[in-house]
Amino acid sequence: MTFDVARVRADFPILDREVNGHPLVYLDSANTSQKPRQVLDAMRAHQERYNGNVSRSVHTLGTESTTAYEDARAKIAAFIGAPSPDEVVFTKNSTEAINLVAYTSADLLQLGPGDEIVVSEMEHHSNLVPWQLLCQRTGATLRWFGVTDEGRLDESALDELVNERTKLVSVVHMSNILGTINDPARIVARAHQVGALVLLDCSQSVPHFPVDVVELGADFIAFTGHKMLGPTGIGVLWGRAELLAAMPPFLAGGSTIETVTMAGTTFAAPPARFEGGTPPITEAIGLGAAVDYLTALGMENIHRHEQEITTYALKALADVPGVRIFGPGTPEGRGGTVSFEVAGVHPHDVGQILDDLGVEVRVGHHCARPVCTRFGVPAMTRASFYLYTTTDEIDALARGLEQVRKVFV
């Protein structure tokens, strides 16, 4: 199958829109992706035809809704190669998924002073701050991998950093700011050697290339629906069955229980144990439809398309005078997320001029301020691509940057 980007684009209503009199050039998919009609239709069908609360009713609407919700879980499990749908916990986003592990691991890992948690300097705040707070609560110590000048994870001190005291390692699979794709194999091996668990923040990987949890060898992964053609309000924690079974409840309430008396409660098996209250039902169904859409196109094909776009973009950006790219300068081991600076122009101003031309990029610290600090800048400009991105759009970006230079340099 050849990847037909025009046909893909036809599925995304928003791509017909104009911004400031120019056709929309949406280069901010690492922030949130756009959504195809198929996903919106699946959600609307639920809301208009069989909306009911799940797991609580014997009636037809409730049963249909529950079936669709659980089917979505099964689809997502299959999408990431999870051995069982029961290993898929629905959350509201990646951030909740990571916090779920951070809060419950105090208990699960019996954390205390002397224990260590390892992250990296490349983390999104959502995979950094929960661990900082966990360390504050338990007295454990936070340590981290550095980042090389090329924007790669510095694994040179792996054996020292991940050691007998390490209880959990949580690192990003693909950086949302540098675009780096980390190969977690060595880290996973070392962590398991010393008996530590591994969480991979797959918020940027699961949307963009094939991810198989068994191959990764991780203990947990987290990802989020809105970055993979799904709606806002839905995320996923995948965890190995025996770990989930050993974890206490987190957001407790309706649906998480086995039996309740005023004096005490026993809890349901995973995943119900972790899905307190009415879950994001329509949103899970929407994410299931997104996974169907991605699967039909083929994650390999999507990845190949993005690699082509990235190759083209890296070259186009390098050709603009004054542009410096942060992170890997070639498409090897990186995805379609490219951060850069325009010499002498603040990213806010870069972004504003581009927006005036309909080109939507993100500017700021991208919720990864330590990376900005690492590269000595207060902020970066970031263009990020997805299955609907075209080379024409990259050209529009490059033209926009010339305009930026005209105004400011």
Partner: protein, 152 residues
């Protein structure tokens, strides 16, 4: 359609349950709860020389779960552990078939009446509740029951 669910055999077992009530002696006991509806069942299993000499039970629940316990009693009481295993397996498979399996009356006896239940996903748990509890009770009585019964 609803008549498929509430077949006379099921209503009969519900109104006139076989072997209901908890009895001693027993080798293993298990108490199971359906967390969504609060239904409960307690099952006791007595084993003697590889034979399920008594299966006694009590509980609160809907017609489906109560009738299912009664049918379980009827089908497995007095059987050997080896004979019981395929019956259990067949019942669980029937329940998880979403209505796609034609049940074998030779194996399942009155249990065939539950074929209609498989088409009501919300009620499958009701039908399985006593069978899950039986599996645990049998294991505690030292006779590991074989088929994997999914509890969620």
């Amino acid at each position: 359609m609803i008549d498929q669910l509430y077949q006379d055999i099921i209503l009969d077992h519900y109104k006139h349950p076989h072997g209901k009530g908890l009895r001693a002696p027993y080798g293993g006991e298990a108490h199971h709860v359906n967390p969504t509806c609060g239904d409960e069942v307690t099952i006791r299993v007595a084993v003697d020389g590889g034979t399920l000499t008594d299966i006694s039970y009590d509980g609160m629940g809907c017609s489906i779960s109560q009738a299912s316990a009664s049918v379980l009693h009827e089908l497995l009481q007095g059987r050997t552990v080896e004979e019981a295993a395929p019956v259990q397996e067949a019942f669980v498979a029937l329940m998880q078939s979403r209505g796609q399996i034609e049940p074998d009356e030779e194996v399942l006896g009155d249990g065939v009446a539950f074929a209609g239940v498989a088409r009501y996903p919300a009620r499958v748990k009701c039908a399985l509740l006593p069978w899950m509890a039986f599996k645990d009770a049998a294991a505690r009585a030292g006779v590991g029951a074989s088929p994997e019964v999914k509890s969620s």
